[in-house]
Symmetry: C2
Subunit: 364 residues, 2 copies
């Protein structure tokens, strides 16, 4: 440059020296930001190599609402699909206060100590969760967070349950492709999420407190009959006796339930995350369940049913979303619903009217 300038007809006197730029790292930062975005192959290779940073980025992509992100995410999922499926998927539910995070810390530590790779996912959108969890699960699972064999992903912070459930199911695929062979999906058990969790896991674990009144338990009716194992938590100190008698009560209650399709008799166990007591026993129960259902074919068949269920579920929810989001339906739904509630029109006649409005609007 200087050579050129000095030879030029336009001669310029050299001025004062440029001041140093304020942030000495700015240039490196700009360079880094301009780094080429990861390609589909980068993502897939990174995930299959077990690279957690890339796995996290792929999940973020999948959670994004930008169409170009979700399109790329879908391609990643399709590429990862053949490498997925080789894990045990566990649903864990329990109301706030039952000690879910400390339980997951305790059992998670034992699972990774056995050599497993553990991913912990959550299904409740943050907005649906009860108070006190704004900081997310990560801050409440410090040991597990530092565990190199564990991967914790807090729930997406917004979205409908259906949307979050779908993303969770897709995240399972990515985690499995990244080599995680035990997947926890946790939920708070007070909303609609449990059916969604139940439809994507192999085993459903319900955490309960001993001696807590109905209000404290707070879980929805129907959840108890989904459970493959009920774990009575905080069975330590003064609580230990209460927990033991709760175990006996629940055991006799479960015996009255109709048989499960899996051939497994749901169990009740006590445990203490504080004393680290009974935790290993719960994991052994899970292993027995997996052995039994893999032997009798239920494990495999249920996975197939779930895959079919999610296809149908995705179709149906999209059909409905298109209907209820249509401008014409929106303009008439509220009035017709009110007429139904006032017994001025039957539910079925109101439905027919809305459907005619919708299909007519679709034709134009």
């Amino acid at each position: 440059m200087e050579d050129n300038e000095s030879k030029s007809a336009l001669s310029v006197n050299s001025g004062v020296e440029q001041p140093p730029i304020v942030n000495p790292n700015a240039l490196a930062q700009i360079k880094r930001k301009k780094r080429k975005p990861l390609t589909l192959d980068d993502y897939v290779e990174g995930i299959l190599a077990g690279n957690r940073t890339i796995l996290s980025q792929a999940i973020t992509l999948l959670e994004s609402s930008l169409p170009e992100h979700s399109e790329l995410a879908q391609q990643i999922i399709e590429k990862c699909l053949p490498y997925s499926g080789k894990s045990v998927r566990l649903g864990i539910t329990g109301v706030p206060g039952v000690g879910k995070s400390t339980f997951i810390e305790a059992i998670g530590g034992q699972i990774t100590a056995l050599g497993h790779q553990l991913a912990v996912l959550a299904i409740d959108p943050s907005s649906e969760r009860s108070k006190g969890s704004i900081l997310g699960d990560k801050t409440r699972m410090e040991t597990l967070c530092a565990d190199p064999k564990a991967f914790i992903r807090p729930s997406p912070s917004s979205g409908s349950l259906g949307g979050v459930a779908r993303k969770t199911r897709e995240t399972i695929i990515l985690c499995e492709a990244a080599g995680f062979d035990v997947i926890f999906i946790e939920t708070v058990g007070v909303g609609q999420s449990e059916t969604a969790v139940h439809s994507m896991v192999d085993f459903f674990l319900l955490l309960m407190l001993a001696g807590a009144g109905d209000e404290l338990q707070g879980i929805k009716r129907g959840i108890m009959e989904m459970a493959d194992l009920i774990a009575i938590t905080k069975a330590d100190g003064v609580n230990a006796t209460k927990a033991k008698s709760a175990k006996i009560e629940y055991q006799s209650a479960l015996m009255l339930f109709p048989a499960t399709e899996s051939g497994w008799s749901p169990k009740v166990e006590t445990c203490s995350s504080l004393d680290n007591a009974g935790i290993m026993n719960i994991w052994e129960n899970i292993e027995s369940y997996v052995a039994l259902t893999q032997e009798n074919g239920y494990f495999h068949n249920r996975r197939k049913d779930q895959a079919r269920y999610w296809m149908i579920e995705a179709i149906n929810s999209r059909l409905m979303r298109n209907f209820y989001n249509s401008r014409e339906v929106k303009a008439n739904l509220e009035l017709l619903e009110q007429q139904v509630l006032d017994d001025k029109i039957s539910s079925f006649a109101a439905a027919s009217k809305l459907l005619s409005i919708y299909y007519n609007s679709e034709k134009h």
Copy 2:
């Protein structure tokens, strides 16, 4: 005629006498068949006057698959709607062998003796029912059939559960308009029908046998948590003691369940249709439930929720039917489903493909 003939230019010798027609009533029958079909007003007036023959004909119309029949049926339902709603709707479930028909006979007789008008409907399509019920419920409820205050309508013999459920809900409207103030909807408790029943009744009654193994009970998991009352049947003779201890067991099991939204604590009672023992007690429980939930507003709110549910349900099932019956979807569904089951494509990608195929075909 004879006069005219004798005056005519074409004279005909009178022949042998015509033989009598084979069936002397044929003429009356033909006349009856040619009778004008009932009009909309005939139906509505007949139903509101409590005419059971016309009520039955209207239900038949509603069950018909002919479009002109169902259109007329819809008009009848809309006209009857303002006169409906003033009944207690009871769901009764229990597997074959639990003594459902004799129980309904026993409690039905007491209900009508109290001055109520009772309608008994069934929700399981005959094809879904277990063996041995081909003759229908009527033959197994002889006393109730002869009771002028009772009306028994067997389940439609065919149709999808969704279709039958909808028809049952519409039949409830007609029965209420005809003055029936207690409606039973019975189901066998082994299929998908219970959720449908649960969504159209005020009170859910589960019949169980004492000491029967899981196989014998045979009801689906999750049903127990829907029950507002569990009645242990056949609590007579050698069974009485077993029934009593079953009652205690179920009572302690129910206490472990989360609280109901209705504010009602589900009960367990024993009864014997043979000795007519405990039957009245069950009816009194139902009356207490109705009083409690009418007082706390749950009864009314639940009815509104159900009306809304059935509108949404009717819309959603029609959207799905149109989708799954479309020629293009039918041509591709099986293959894509197989690819999902073989992990060659994700559930969501398969859903997207089918949806694109469907919406593209709709545009043409």
